[in-house]
Protein backbone atom coordinates (compact mmCIF):
# COMPACT_ATOMS: atom_id res chain seq x y z
CA UNK A 1 0.00 0.00 0.00
CA UNK A 2 1.53 3.33 -0.95
CA UNK A 3 2.68 5.28 2.09
CA UNK A 4 0.67 8.33 1.12
CA UNK A 5 -2.63 6.41 1.35
CA UNK A 6 -1.72 4.99 4.77
CA UNK A 7 -0.95 8.49 6.04
CA UNK A 8 -4.18 9.80 4.57
CA UNK A 9 -6.17 6.97 6.19
CA UNK A 10 -4.54 7.65 9.56
CA UNK A 11 -5.33 11.32 9.16
CA UNK A 12 -9.00 10.60 8.43
CA UNK A 13 -9.25 8.32 11.49
CA UNK A 14 -7.60 11.00 13.63
CA UNK A 15 -9.97 13.70 12.44
CA UNK A 16 -13.05 11.52 13.00
CA UNK A 17 -11.92 10.46 16.49
CA UNK A 18 -11.13 14.03 17.33
CA UNK A 19 -14.54 15.16 16.19
CA UNK A 20 -16.22 12.41 18.21
CA UNK A 21 -14.27 13.24 21.35
CA UNK A 22 -15.02 16.93 20.98
CA UNK A 23 -18.67 16.18 20.37
CA UNK A 24 -19.02 14.03 23.48
CA UNK A 25 -16.97 16.42 25.53
CA UNK A 26 -19.18 19.33 24.58
CA UNK A 27 -21.24 20.47 27.56
CA UNK A 28 -24.94 19.80 27.28
CA UNK A 29 -25.84 23.47 27.60
CA UNK A 30 -24.12 24.15 24.28
CA UNK A 31 -26.42 21.82 22.39
CA UNK A 32 -28.71 23.67 20.01
CA UNK A 33 -31.82 23.22 22.13
CA UNK A 34 -32.86 26.88 21.91
CA UNK A 35 -31.07 27.81 25.10
CA UNK A 36 -30.53 31.43 26.02
CA UNK A 37 -26.98 31.24 24.66
CA UNK A 38 -28.45 31.24 21.14
CA UNK A 39 -29.40 34.67 19.96
CA UNK A 40 -33.04 34.84 18.89
CA UNK A 41 -34.81 38.02 17.99
CA UNK A 42 -33.59 41.44 17.02
CA UNK A 43 -34.58 44.48 15.07
CA UNK A 44 -37.32 44.21 12.44
CA UNK A 45 -39.42 46.47 10.28
CA UNK A 46 -42.77 45.12 9.15
CA UNK A 47 -46.26 46.32 8.21
CA UNK A 48 -49.15 45.75 10.61
CA UNK A 49 -52.73 44.74 9.77
CA UNK A 50 -53.75 48.41 9.54
CA UNK A 51 -51.09 49.04 6.93
CA UNK A 52 -48.77 50.95 9.29
CA UNK A 53 -45.04 50.40 9.18
CA UNK A 54 -43.87 49.16 12.58
CA UNK A 55 -40.59 48.07 14.16
CA UNK A 56 -39.65 45.84 17.07
CA UNK A 57 -39.29 49.04 19.16
CA UNK A 58 -43.06 49.61 18.90
CA UNK A 59 -43.64 46.51 21.04
CA UNK A 60 -41.02 47.22 23.75
CA UNK A 61 -42.31 47.46 27.29
CA UNK A 62 -44.44 44.35 26.88
CA UNK A 63 -43.71 40.70 26.49
CA UNK A 64 -44.36 39.54 22.94
CA UNK A 65 -45.59 36.14 21.82
CA UNK A 66 -44.49 35.84 18.22
CA UNK A 67 -45.58 33.19 15.76
CA UNK A 68 -44.93 32.79 12.02
CA UNK A 69 -47.46 31.30 9.61
CA UNK A 70 -49.89 32.14 6.80
CA UNK A 71 -53.64 32.53 6.60
CA UNK A 72 -54.11 30.14 3.66
CA UNK A 73 -53.26 27.38 6.16
CA UNK A 74 -56.56 26.18 7.69
CA UNK A 75 -55.24 23.21 9.67
CA UNK A 76 -52.13 23.98 11.69
CA UNK A 77 -52.04 27.77 11.96
CA UNK A 78 -55.55 28.19 13.45
CA UNK A 79 -54.69 25.56 16.07
CA UNK A 80 -51.70 27.59 17.21
CA UNK A 81 -53.64 30.86 16.94
CA UNK A 82 -56.41 29.41 19.11
CA UNK A 83 -53.91 28.10 21.66
CA UNK A 84 -52.30 31.54 21.90
CA UNK A 85 -55.72 33.18 22.27
CA UNK A 86 -56.81 30.71 24.95
CA UNK A 87 -53.50 31.20 26.76
CA UNK A 88 -54.12 34.97 26.71
CA UNK A 89 -57.57 34.43 28.23
CA UNK A 90 -56.10 32.13 30.89
CA UNK A 91 -53.60 34.83 31.86
CA UNK A 92 -56.48 37.06 32.92
CA UNK A 93 -55.36 40.57 33.87
CA UNK A 94 -51.69 39.62 33.33
CA UNK A 95 -52.44 39.31 29.61
CA UNK A 96 -52.07 43.11 29.46
CA UNK A 97 -48.33 42.56 29.76
CA UNK A 98 -48.28 40.32 26.69
CA UNK A 99 -48.65 41.30 23.04
CA UNK A 100 -49.33 38.40 20.67
CA UNK A 101 -47.93 38.91 17.15
CA UNK A 102 -48.70 36.81 14.09
CA UNK A 103 -46.18 37.27 11.28
CA UNK A 104 -47.40 36.11 7.89
CA UNK A 105 -44.65 34.72 5.69
CA UNK A 106 -47.05 34.97 2.73
CA UNK A 107 -47.28 38.70 1.88
CA UNK A 108 -48.48 37.89 -1.64
CA UNK A 109 -51.88 36.71 -0.40
CA UNK A 110 -51.89 38.12 3.12
CA UNK A 111 -52.62 41.77 2.56
CA UNK A 112 -53.29 43.99 5.58
CA UNK A 113 -57.02 43.50 5.04
CA UNK A 114 -56.77 39.70 4.96
CA UNK A 115 -54.49 39.71 8.02
CA UNK A 116 -56.88 41.87 9.98
CA UNK A 117 -59.77 39.57 9.15
CA UNK A 118 -57.69 36.52 10.17
CA UNK A 119 -56.27 37.71 13.51
CA UNK A 120 -59.60 39.30 14.49
CA UNK A 121 -61.12 35.84 14.33
CA UNK A 122 -58.99 34.72 17.29
CA UNK A 123 -58.14 37.37 19.84
CA UNK A 124 -58.97 41.09 19.93
CA UNK A 125 -55.40 41.95 21.01
CA UNK A 126 -53.68 39.85 18.34
CA UNK A 127 -51.71 41.90 15.80
CA UNK A 128 -51.02 40.62 12.29
CA UNK A 129 -47.74 41.62 10.64
CA UNK A 130 -46.14 41.02 7.29
CA UNK A 131 -43.75 42.84 4.99
CA UNK A 132 -41.76 42.84 1.80
CA UNK A 133 -39.72 39.80 0.86
CA UNK A 134 -36.62 41.57 2.21
CA UNK A 135 -38.30 42.56 5.49
CA UNK A 136 -39.56 39.00 6.01
CA UNK A 137 -36.17 37.50 5.19
CA UNK A 138 -34.62 39.78 7.82
CA UNK A 139 -37.12 38.96 10.58
CA UNK A 140 -36.95 35.24 9.75
CA UNK A 141 -33.17 35.35 10.01
CA UNK A 142 -33.32 37.19 13.34
CA UNK A 143 -35.80 34.68 14.76
CA UNK A 144 -34.13 31.61 13.20
CA UNK A 145 -37.36 30.87 11.36
CA UNK A 146 -37.53 28.94 8.11
CA UNK A 147 -40.16 29.39 5.43
CA UNK A 148 -40.49 28.33 1.83
CA UNK A 149 -43.15 28.58 -0.85
CA UNK A 150 -44.22 25.24 -2.33
CA UNK A 151 -45.99 25.17 -5.67
CA UNK A 152 -47.55 21.74 -6.12
CA UNK A 153 -47.80 20.34 -9.61
CA UNK A 154 -51.23 20.97 -11.09
CA UNK A 155 -52.13 23.62 -8.51
CA UNK A 156 -53.15 27.08 -9.69
CA UNK A 157 -50.60 29.86 -9.21
CA UNK A 158 -52.49 31.26 -6.21
CA UNK A 159 -52.94 27.84 -4.57
CA UNK A 160 -49.36 27.41 -3.40
CA UNK A 161 -48.59 26.22 0.12
CA UNK A 162 -45.89 27.32 2.54
CA UNK A 163 -43.56 25.25 4.70
CA UNK A 164 -42.78 27.18 7.83
CA UNK A 165 -41.33 26.89 11.34
CA UNK A 166 -44.12 26.29 13.83
CA UNK A 167 -42.44 27.58 16.98
CA UNK A 168 -43.93 30.29 19.21
CA UNK A 169 -41.42 32.60 20.91
CA UNK A 170 -41.87 34.54 24.13
CA UNK A 171 -39.71 37.67 24.14
CA UNK A 172 -39.27 39.94 27.17
CA UNK A 173 -40.16 43.68 27.31
CA UNK A 174 -36.63 44.50 26.06
CA UNK A 175 -37.06 42.24 23.05
CA UNK A 176 -34.80 39.52 24.48
CA UNK A 177 -35.64 35.84 24.05
CA UNK A 178 -37.24 34.25 27.13
CA UNK A 179 -38.84 30.95 26.14
CA UNK A 180 -40.31 29.02 23.24
CA UNK A 181 -43.32 26.78 22.78
CA UNK A 182 -43.32 23.98 20.24
CA UNK A 183 -46.34 23.13 18.10
CA UNK A 184 -48.89 21.19 20.10
CA UNK A 185 -48.22 23.03 23.38
CA UNK A 186 -51.61 23.28 25.07
CA UNK A 187 -52.99 26.67 26.05
CA UNK A 188 -52.70 25.64 29.74
CA UNK A 189 -49.00 24.88 29.39
CA UNK A 190 -48.43 28.02 27.35
CA UNK A 191 -50.18 30.21 29.93
CA UNK A 192 -48.18 28.57 32.74
CA UNK A 193 -44.97 28.98 30.75
CA UNK A 194 -45.66 32.68 30.22
CA UNK A 195 -46.87 33.36 33.76
CA UNK A 196 -43.66 32.21 35.40
CA UNK A 197 -41.75 34.93 33.54
CA UNK A 198 -44.13 37.82 34.21
Amino acid sequence: MPRRIVILALLVVAVISGALVLNFARPVRDLPSVSSSISIGGAFTLVDHDGRTVTDADYRGRYTLIFFGYTYCPDVCPTTMQNISDAMDLLGASADQVQPLFVSVDPERDTAEVLKSFVGNFHPRMIGLTGSAEQLAAVAKAYKVYFQKVQEEGAADDEYLMNHSSIVYLMDPDGEFVAHFTHGTTSDDMAAGIRKHL
Binding site: G69, T71, Y72, C73, P74, D75, V76, P78, T79, M81, Q82, N83, S85, R109, E113, V114, S117, F118, G120, N121, F122, Y146, V150, E152, E159, L161, N163, H164, S165, S166, I167, T182, H183, G184
Partner: protein
Protein backbone atom coordinates in the same frame (compact mmCIF):
# COMPACT_ATOMS: atom_id res chain seq x y z
CA UNK B 1 -99.30 11.02 34.97
CA UNK B 2 -99.85 12.13 31.43
CA UNK B 3 -98.32 15.51 32.24
CA UNK B 4 -95.27 13.82 33.73
CA UNK B 5 -94.88 11.72 30.63
CA UNK B 6 -95.09 14.76 28.36
CA UNK B 7 -92.59 16.60 30.53
CA UNK B 8 -90.30 13.60 30.50
CA UNK B 9 -90.60 13.25 26.74
CA UNK B 10 -89.88 16.95 26.33
CA UNK B 11 -86.88 16.71 28.65
CA UNK B 12 -85.57 13.69 26.75
CA UNK B 13 -85.97 15.47 23.44
CA UNK B 14 -84.17 18.57 24.71
CA UNK B 15 -81.43 16.63 26.46
CA UNK B 16 -80.72 14.02 23.84
CA UNK B 17 -82.28 15.37 20.69
CA UNK B 18 -79.45 17.72 19.71
CA UNK B 19 -76.89 15.14 20.76
CA UNK B 20 -78.49 12.64 18.43
CA UNK B 21 -78.35 15.17 15.62
CA UNK B 22 -74.70 15.94 16.30
CA UNK B 23 -73.60 12.34 16.49
CA UNK B 24 -74.38 11.71 12.86
CA UNK B 25 -72.96 8.43 11.63
CA UNK B 26 -73.11 7.49 7.98
CA UNK B 27 -72.61 4.07 6.46
CA UNK B 28 -71.49 2.90 3.05
CA UNK B 29 -70.39 -0.71 2.56
CA UNK B 30 -68.13 -1.56 5.49
CA UNK B 31 -67.35 2.06 6.22
CA UNK B 32 -68.87 4.01 9.10
CA UNK B 33 -68.29 7.75 8.91
CA UNK B 34 -68.45 9.44 12.28
CA UNK B 35 -69.14 13.09 13.05
CA UNK B 36 -67.80 15.10 10.12
CA UNK B 37 -66.93 18.64 11.26
CA UNK B 38 -65.26 21.71 9.85
CA UNK B 39 -63.70 24.82 11.31
CA UNK B 40 -65.32 28.18 10.90
CA UNK B 41 -63.13 30.48 8.84
CA UNK B 42 -62.42 34.18 8.96
CA UNK B 43 -64.49 36.36 6.63
CA UNK B 44 -61.86 36.68 3.88
CA UNK B 45 -60.58 33.11 4.04
CA UNK B 46 -59.79 31.34 0.79
CA UNK B 47 -59.39 27.94 2.41
CA UNK B 48 -61.24 25.76 4.88
CA UNK B 49 -60.77 22.39 6.49
CA UNK B 50 -62.93 19.45 7.55
CA UNK B 51 -62.22 16.38 9.65
CA UNK B 52 -63.90 13.01 10.06
CA UNK B 53 -63.32 9.62 11.64
CA UNK B 54 -63.83 6.59 9.40
CA UNK B 55 -64.13 3.06 10.72
CA UNK B 56 -63.71 0.02 8.51
CA UNK B 57 -65.69 -2.96 9.82
CA UNK B 58 -64.77 -5.13 6.86
CA UNK B 59 -62.01 -7.66 6.37
CA UNK B 60 -60.38 -5.77 3.54
CA UNK B 61 -58.57 -2.45 3.62
CA UNK B 62 -60.16 0.43 1.76
CA UNK B 63 -58.97 3.87 0.76
CA UNK B 64 -60.56 7.29 0.87
CA UNK B 65 -59.60 8.57 -2.57
CA UNK B 66 -61.54 11.80 -3.01
CA UNK B 67 -63.93 14.29 -1.50
CA UNK B 68 -66.17 16.80 -3.23
CA UNK B 69 -68.45 19.64 -2.22
CA UNK B 70 -69.85 22.73 -3.84
CA UNK B 71 -68.72 25.05 -1.03
CA UNK B 72 -65.31 25.49 -2.69
CA UNK B 73 -63.75 25.51 -6.11
CA UNK B 74 -61.48 22.64 -5.20
CA UNK B 75 -61.64 19.95 -2.52
CA UNK B 76 -58.69 17.69 -1.77
CA UNK B 77 -57.20 15.30 0.74
CA UNK B 78 -54.24 16.91 2.44
CA UNK B 79 -51.88 16.18 5.27
CA UNK B 80 -49.89 18.33 7.64
CA UNK B 81 -46.68 16.95 8.93
CA UNK B 82 -43.88 18.22 11.11
CA UNK B 83 -40.29 17.75 10.03
CA UNK B 84 -37.56 19.21 12.24
CA UNK B 85 -39.89 21.85 13.64
CA UNK B 86 -41.03 22.87 10.17
CA UNK B 87 -44.73 22.48 9.45
CA UNK B 88 -45.50 21.23 5.97
CA UNK B 89 -48.81 20.69 4.23
CA UNK B 90 -49.15 18.66 1.07
CA UNK B 91 -51.72 16.71 -0.95
CA UNK B 92 -52.16 13.31 0.69
CA UNK B 93 -53.16 11.17 -2.29
CA UNK B 94 -55.39 8.44 -0.84
CA UNK B 95 -55.94 7.76 2.87
CA UNK B 96 -55.96 4.11 3.88
CA UNK B 97 -58.52 2.67 6.27
CA UNK B 98 -57.12 -0.69 7.41
CA UNK B 99 -59.37 -3.75 7.69
CA UNK B 100 -61.04 -3.65 11.11
CA UNK B 101 -59.32 -0.35 11.79
CA UNK B 102 -59.94 3.32 11.40
CA UNK B 103 -58.61 6.48 9.84
CA UNK B 104 -58.81 9.66 11.84
CA UNK B 105 -58.72 12.92 9.98
CA UNK B 106 -57.90 15.44 12.69
CA UNK B 107 -56.07 18.74 13.23
CA UNK B 108 -52.36 18.47 12.50
CA UNK B 109 -52.65 15.37 10.32
CA UNK B 110 -54.83 14.20 7.48
CA UNK B 111 -57.61 16.62 6.58
CA UNK B 112 -60.05 17.55 3.84
CA UNK B 113 -58.87 20.83 2.37
CA UNK B 114 -61.21 23.31 0.65
CA UNK B 115 -59.54 25.78 -1.70
CA UNK B 116 -61.31 28.77 -3.17
CA UNK B 117 -64.21 28.99 -0.69
CA UNK B 118 -67.47 30.20 -2.22
CA UNK B 119 -68.33 31.75 1.17
CA UNK B 120 -66.69 31.62 4.60
CA UNK B 121 -67.62 28.69 6.85
CA UNK B 122 -69.74 30.02 9.70
CA UNK B 123 -69.98 28.45 13.13
CA UNK B 124 -73.27 26.63 13.61
CA UNK B 125 -73.86 26.11 9.91
CA UNK B 126 -73.46 22.86 8.01
CA UNK B 127 -72.82 21.78 4.43
CA UNK B 128 -73.00 18.59 2.36
CA UNK B 129 -69.83 16.69 1.46
CA UNK B 130 -69.33 13.59 -0.67
CA UNK B 131 -66.65 11.09 0.31
CA UNK B 132 -65.41 8.59 -2.28
CA UNK B 133 -63.91 5.25 -1.25
CA UNK B 134 -62.04 2.97 -3.61
CA UNK B 135 -64.03 -0.15 -2.66
CA UNK B 136 -67.08 1.02 -0.69
CA UNK B 137 -68.09 3.67 -3.20
CA UNK B 138 -69.37 7.09 -2.32
CA UNK B 139 -71.43 8.54 0.48
CA UNK B 140 -72.97 11.95 1.18
CA UNK B 141 -72.46 13.35 4.65
CA UNK B 142 -73.32 16.61 6.39
CA UNK B 143 -70.44 18.57 7.90
CA UNK B 144 -71.11 20.68 11.01
CA UNK B 145 -69.11 23.89 11.30
CA UNK B 146 -67.52 24.43 14.72
CA UNK B 147 -65.59 27.51 15.80
CA UNK B 148 -62.26 28.39 14.18
CA UNK B 149 -59.26 26.80 15.85
CA UNK B 150 -61.51 24.11 17.30
CA UNK B 151 -59.98 20.69 17.95
CA UNK B 152 -63.38 19.04 17.62
CA UNK B 153 -63.73 18.47 21.36
CA UNK B 154 -67.13 20.10 21.60
CA UNK B 155 -68.30 17.89 18.76
CA UNK B 156 -67.06 14.76 20.51
CA UNK B 157 -68.73 15.88 23.72
CA UNK B 158 -72.02 16.15 21.87
CA UNK B 159 -71.49 12.84 20.15
CA UNK B 160 -70.98 10.86 23.37
Amino acid sequence: MKKTFVALAFFTAVAFGPAGAWAADYKVGDMTIHSPWARATFAMAKTGVAYVTIRNEGSQADRLVAASADVAKKVGLHESLMEDGVMKMRPAGAIEIPAGGMAMLEPGGYHIMFMGLVAPFKEGESFPLTLVFERAGQVDVVVDVLKDGSMGDEKMKHAD
